[in-house]
Symmetry: C2
Subunit: 429 residues, 2 copies
């Protein structure tokens, strides 16, 4: 039993500020849950102007070493984000015998297994609930409640920025650039939105989830990812007509020893619950042999939801410290990694193209698809544009292998009658 | 570090059989997670014919005392259901120093706080994830991840039987009795369906959730409950017309020191995610000051989903036993109980009635409502039935207090022009 469990916080941005606020405002309730007070003892940030936001600015420092050197600090919260120097800070804290709580998806996705075994070696905890799904309890339930399950797949809307943009395109008929601009104005998207838009952020998160779900060491470079910038208002119109929604999904599946892990826009049937997840909300759908389908839904970002799960991780550790309990290893990786490359994956496809408005073109396209063992499940041809003498057609296919589809695309592009292949989107049923 | 953690199982019904099967079939994976094997050492059931289903029938006994008397049994799983003798069995196990895992919602709702403090006193764990929401991880996330949050409300579809019936009424236009019959034929409803249909089952579950969420001792007798048997196909038609779905919700809310906890059918807007939860699925929507809205969705019943969370609880305890960790108290109740009676609760209402088809009736009804401070937000009057000279009207009200509404109903029933008040359903927005 200690008089107090002491915390060092690195990074006093939006989320760090939220954590400091919760520790201050909810001190009574936290003390009751831990059995002893949690004391925020030191806060490090390079930007000295931020110290004013602290209830007690005297604990502020611009020198992060003060946190590592303080033998009374039990738990370090790392919230600076990005790979460098966050990874070094996490390592340093662990090596100094401090428990670590972090929201850092990039470090966890790239270096999680090494850091977790380092923590295990030093008998400290490394918790990262906040790194995936913001305010949604996800990693703890996966480890604690779904572990007996053999998980077969995870489908998740895990990036709030892109889901906001796609929702605005769907509901308001906006084009991508207008929806992105709106998201930037509202602070949902960054000035350089590449990490979100191109699926890097979602790739980090699905790598973390797949690693836990399949007990396999999955890294960001194993994740195929493709962004949403090619989506247009036409695609949303066709999707609606065909009974689908368009979402950026991060998907991982295990079939026998083979794992697929990918991030890209998909058509999903509009009666799936995931199709109803709008705006900045996130949702994670997990299929297991015992539980069947389980879905977790909530705010995937934002200062308060994220700060809440960080403090929950801190409380979990603090209770163990207070009762003298040793941390138990939280991750075991015993399944060999056999990733299926995207070229080998089979899905259905939605394809939109502009063709010359003349007889026999559809037959040419059908022939190319057929030669590549791709069969059509439905097709829509809209009224021709008389001025340009072109027509737009949309084709939905039966399941086909990605490499066959790519080859068919190459061949179709070389047909004179095909003016443009405007979009190709995978379908998940 | 022990050679094995030993389990005694009481009750070899569907779920008990599922637990025995998982412990057998997933032994390797479980051993890896616990760090030592879990051994099913003894199984007690009064029905001897059930022993044949066990991989090793020699561990079967009809005498439950054998389990309590066995000093090598570390964890007792209670799966006989019902209050008596299950409560005594749980007590006995705890007093003998054994950890307990149970799916028993009735015992937990009625006697949870006493049993949890008994477990605390004997330094053993009492886990009951399976008592609420079947295969959905719910209690652990509430305790572990949402605890810093001040929870303001829980809205939940927590009874699969009634949700199945309501879904069939909505999608197929069935009447209640036909949908119930179908549910019984499929094994989703019992021969005597009262516990499900009248909301007793949901009342137990919401009492358990409210106790955890609000740190207040809520018992089944604190829960107002009303069943679904008055719903008709007309109500579903009007609901659709008005943009609502009809669900049996268990609801608990905290406003200042006041807690409301109730189970009854409600109209909910059809664009809410809960409105899309169909069939035997369950969902729990939790609102907190930090997390905002979080939803958990999955199978609320069934042998495998339920057995999965039971084994997860067992693994959680076994890991602690294996590392020599003491169990930490899992529940603290420090908030005084101030339940708002249903008569004081304010909601909007849907009301359907048959009136005489003559001038001035709507005016009479409006006057009665007005005298009780109830204002109308919309009304539908359908074509009159010429033969009986009656018409059906549906009224949606603005928020009004339950007791004012009940008084208005009494007064309306005494109006000569009101032939029948067919249904009154609360609305949650």
């Amino acid at each position: 039993m200690k008089n107090s469990v002491n915390i060092g916080l690195i990074g006093l941005g939006t989320i760090g500020g939220g954590v400091a606020k919760i520790l201050h405002e909810k001190a009574d309730s936290i003390t009751k849950q831990v059995g002893t007070p949690l004391t925020l003892r030191s806060v490090a940030d390079l930007d000295e102007t931020r110290k004013a936001s602290l209830p007690d600015p005297s604990i502020f420092t611009t020198n992060v070493q003060n946190i590592f050197d303080d033998p009374d600090i039990d738990i370090v919260i790392e919230l600076i984000g990005g790979e460098t120097p966050a990874k070094t800070f996490i390592q340093e804290a662990i090596q100094r015998g401090k428990h670590v709580v972090t929201a850092n998806k990039e470090v966890l996705a790239k270096h999680g297994p090494e850091l977790l075994s380092l923590a295990d070696k030093h008998k400290v905890g490394l918790f990262y609930e906040a790194s995936v799904g913001g305010g949604i309890p996800l990693i703890a339930p996966l480890k604690r409640n779904l572990q007996v399950n053999d998980i077969s797949s995870i489908h998740t809307i895990i990036n709030g920025t892109t889901n906001y943009i796609l929702t605005r395109m769907e509901k308001e008929g906006l084009e991508f650039s207008a929806a992105l601009k709106e998201a930037q104005d509202l602070g949902y998207a960054e000035a350089d939105p590449t990490r979100d838009i191109e699926g890097f952020d979602a790739a980090y998160k699905i790598a973390i989830l797949a690693t836990i779900a399949f007990h396999t060491d999955i890294r960001p470079e194993d994740v195929f990812h493709e962004g949403i910038s090619r989506m247009t208002s036409q695609d949303f119109q066709y999707a609606r007509e065909l009974g689908y929604a368009i979402k950026l999904l991060a998907i991982t599946k295990k079939e026998g020893p083979f794992i697929q892990v990918r991030v890209h826009p998909v058509f999903i049937p509009d009666d799936m619950l995931l199709a109803k997840v709008d705006g900045v909300f996130n949702a994670v759908q997990i299929e297991g042999d015992l539980t069947g389908r389980v879905i977790f839904y909530g705010r995937g970002a934002g200062s308060e939801p994220t700060a809440n799960v960080i403090v929950s991780d801190v409380i979990h550790i603090a209770r163990s410290i207070n009762t003298g309990t040793e941390m138990q290893p939280e991750l075991y990786l015993d399944t060999p990694k056999q990733i299926i490359p995207i070229s080998e994956i089979e899905t259905r496809y939605y394809m939109r193209m502009t063709i010359a408005d003349m007889a026999g073109v559809l037959a040419q396209i059908t022939r190319v698809l057929g030669e590549n063992q791709i069969s059509i499940s439905s097709a829509i041809q809209k009224e021709a544009d008389i001025k340009s003498q072109t027509a737009e057609i949309v084709i939905m296919t039966h399941p086909a292998q990605e490499k066959a589809m790519q080859q068919a695309l190459d061949q179709m592009e070389s047909l004179e009658a095909v003016k443009e292949i405007s979009n190709l989107v995978r379908v998940e049923d």
